[in-house]
């Protein structure tokens, strides 16, 4: 392909955990890539491995009990798995920044906002002289539209609302002009009006800095709002991958179909919600073959073999043996309606 190499490429990543119940294969052969300036959303339910995937990129997975079984994570073409601690420290918060779900617990309660944002600048931007750090912090706070930034500098996290703390986290992440921002459920803990404003902010900042975003979420509404490409994960595997419009218009995997069908929508009404029966299996006891087959209403004899991620054109890939049958059956039944 003529495209430039991606900013980040995750290749066949396996992150396992040793537990008292056996080996938990939390991330089991996940591959995807992100180009500069683009947003990739990783979607899935709790326990599907999306957060462990994000933590693996920055190597924040506690080891032991965690370990990398296989795989490569290439950032700007260079494998970053196995970098030395000092090289990693430069990367984290420098070229790759991360914001977490719970802004209240991610900020240190005993330091002021100014100190915490300034610390990131001192560590990662040695070209900024010490007496200019305060100005840089102010600039960072202004860029995320924090009101009255001079006063905020000397405040502590408990003096702020949840939405404001998430803004501070974003300011801290952006202070060092990262090329990749990993956002793990950035709006799950805040109210909808605040969520809308944070999504606006992320969109504006991305356009301004040409930054790539890896968005981890379970909310398909947030995905539709922000993503360019989507990876759907289930039980440690990527089961479907497509550009956002393609995925929403033409979902193919039974699990993705089930996720869409089970959404109560504000923009349309339904009499009864469709459900996916059962629940996600524990990571220590995934079924052999297709991991979704026990909950799948289309499961057939082939499903005891593990389905590969098949390319079906237009950048759309799906891991299901029967995706063609299912698509044609659905076309028939929707035509009959």
């Amino acid at each position: 392909m003529a495209e430039p190499p991606p900013l980040l490429a995750v290749d066949n990543l396996r992150t396992y955990f040793n537990t008292e119940f056996g080996v938990a294969r939390a991330v089991d052969g996940v591959s995807f890539s992100i180009s500069a300036g683009k947003t990739l959303a990783v979607v899935g339910e709790s326990g599907c491995g999306k957060t462990v995937t994000a933590l693996s990129i920055l190597q924040l997975v506690p080891m032991p009990p965690g370990r990398f079984e296989s795989g490569e994570i290439r950032f700007q073409g260079k494998n970053i798995l196995g970098l030395s601690p000092s090289e990693l420290r430069k990367l984290r918060g420098g070229d790759i920044a991360m914001i977490f779900q719970e802004p209240a617990t991610s900020l240190n309660p005993v330091f002021t906002i100014g100190f915490q944002v300034g610390e990131a600048i001192l560590l990662h931007r040695p070209e900024v002289p010490r007496n200019k750090v305060r100005d840089e912090v102010l600039k960072a706070l202004r860029s995320v539209h924090v009101s009255d930034p001079e006063r905020r500098l000397d405040q502590y996290p408990h003096e702020m609302s949840g939405g404001m703390k998430q803004r501070i986290m974003i300011a801290m992440a952006l202070a060092c002009k990262p090329q990749l921002l990993i956002a793990d459920e950035p709006t799950t803990a805040v109210d909808v009006t605040i969520q809308a404003r944070i999504l606006d902010l992320l969109r504006d900042i991305q356009a301004e800095h040409h930054m790539a975003i890896l968005l981890i979420t379970h909310d398909l509404g947030v995905v539709a709002e922000l993503a360019d490409d989507v990876v759907v994960m289930y039980a440690g595997k990527v089961i479907e991958q497509a550009p956002v419009h393609e995925l929403f218009n033409n979902p193919r995997h039974p699990y993705t179909l089930g996720l869409f069908a089970s959404l109560p929508r504000v923009d349309e009404t339904k009499t009864r919600l469709e459900t996916i029966e059962g629940s996600v299996p524990p990571a220590t006891h995934f079924p052999e073959g297709c991991r979704f087959r026990e909950r799948c209403k289309w499961a057939g004899p082939d499903c005891v073999k593990e389905p590969p991620l098949l390319q079906i054109g237009g950048g759309h890939a799906v891991a299901c043996w029967y995706h063609e049958t299912i698509a044609s059956q659905r076309a028939v039944s929707s035509g009959a309606k």
């Binding site: 009006t193 809308a196 539709a224 109560p264 504000v266 009864r272 996600v280």
Partner: protein, 363 residues
């Protein structure tokens, strides 16, 4: 505490169970609950949090009323106050004609059979030291005196009603997933065949696919048992799906209330419009910049505290309509009444300008 036996108390105060045709099951009038804010060395009352400040609504038999709003608006306090789980609320809560707030604890106890609650957190609301049989059986043995085999049979039937297998009865809560635990909480709530259940964010802690299972279960139980629900949620999708009527709360007051479709398609209060348009729609063709968005006029990025409620209409500092209309004096000066729209008595709005659609003003 009282020495009256459950049976004696029951014959004294229990109103007849509602027949399906009965109209109003629960009528709440001017419910008020203020919490004191204490401070200083003597813990004196410095201020009041007006969590619920004059809320009125009614719920008909076999109907669901949705109560929506953002965190801190007082919606949970409404649910708990009307079940008397939080003491000290004033106003009137008529359940089949009996004022729940005026009853003594002994008089209230037999009524607890009729009035139940499902909690948000399926992890915190089940006692980890009790088995499922004990958790679901406790209300049955306390209120109906069931014991032994009869109790066990009733419990296993309940467990199957909520979609679990009866062989799980002797397991403990930690052995279940979030969705299964919420099913156990629902089994406990319906064990005494209540007629009214407060559902306090029953699906917020659950994954998307599990959420649909629980919503369907609640609807099935409503149909088979003629239940009424007060559905407290910030998830406007779930509320639209399950409710016949919806009330929107802001800082302790209802700002708009209407039949569900009317509210979602014809929102008149600017806050309702802001809430509805803030929800991301799962359709990439309708991104925020493509669809009509109504934004708050926030300078400070926070909901004002319910201790220092702004003057006049509490929403005016954030209100897009207030800004668009050139900051009219009356929004700052007086709190608008909750009044019906002209020609639509079911749809009530607390706004000085209910006929100025926010969507057209801000376009």
């Amino acid at each position: 505490m009282t020495t009256a036996t459950p049976a004696a108390a029951k014959s004294a105060a229990v109103p007849p169970r509602p027949t399906p045709s009965a109209d109003v099951l629960l009528k709440v009038t001017n419910l008020v609950k203020h919490f004191p804010v204490r401070g200083g060395i003597f813990r004196t009352v410095k201020d009041w949090v007006k969590a619920v400040d004059g809320v009125s609504f009614q719920i008909d038999a076999s109907q669901t009323m949705g109560l929506v709003g953002e965190s801190g608006c007082g919606k949970t306090t409404v649910g708990r106050s009307l079940l008397r789980l939080i003491p000290g609320a004033t106003g009137e809560v008529l359940y089949n004609g009996v004022d729940l707030l005026g009853l003594s604890r002994a008089q209230l106890r037999p009524l607890r059979e009729h009035l139940q609650i499902i909690f948000q957190d399926p992890y915190g609301s089940l006692n980890p030291r009790m088995t499922i049989a004990q958790i679901v059986g406790e209300p049955l043995s306390l209120h109906q005196g069931l014991r032994g085999k009869a109790l066990r049979a009733e419990v296993s039937q309940l467990i199957e009603t909520v979609g679990l297998k009866s062989h799980v009865l002797d397991r403990y809560p930690h052995e279940f997933s979030g969705g299964q635990r919420q099913r156990i909480g629902i089994a406990r709530a319906v064990a005494l065949k209540p007629s009214f259940i407060v559902c306090d964010e029953p699906t917020s802690a659950l994954d998307v696919s599990i959420r649909a299972q629980i919503v369907n279960l609640l609807q099935d139980l409503q149909q088979s048992r003629g239940l009424s629900y007060l559905m407290i949620s910030h998830d406007l999708g779930v509320v639209r799906h399950i409710s016949q009527n919806v009330a929107v709360m802001y800082l302790g007051k209802i700002v708009e209330q209407a039949p569900t479709e009317d509210l979602y398609q014809n929102a008149r209060h600017p806050y309702t419009a802001v809430l509805l348009s803030a929800i991301p729609v799962p359709n990439p063709n309708l991104r925020a910049n493509a669809r009509q968005r109504v934004r708050t006029q926030d300078t400070e990025d926070s909901v004002p505290s319910p201790i220092h409620v702004p003057s006049g209409c509490a929403f005016h500092p954030r209100c897009p309509l207030y800004a668009a209309k050139g900051k009219p004096e009356q929004c700052r000066a007086s709190m608008p009444e909750l009044l019906p729209l002209a020609g639509n008595p079911q749809h009530v709005v607390r706004c000085h300008f209910p006929d100025d659609s926010v969507f057209s003003v801000t376009k």
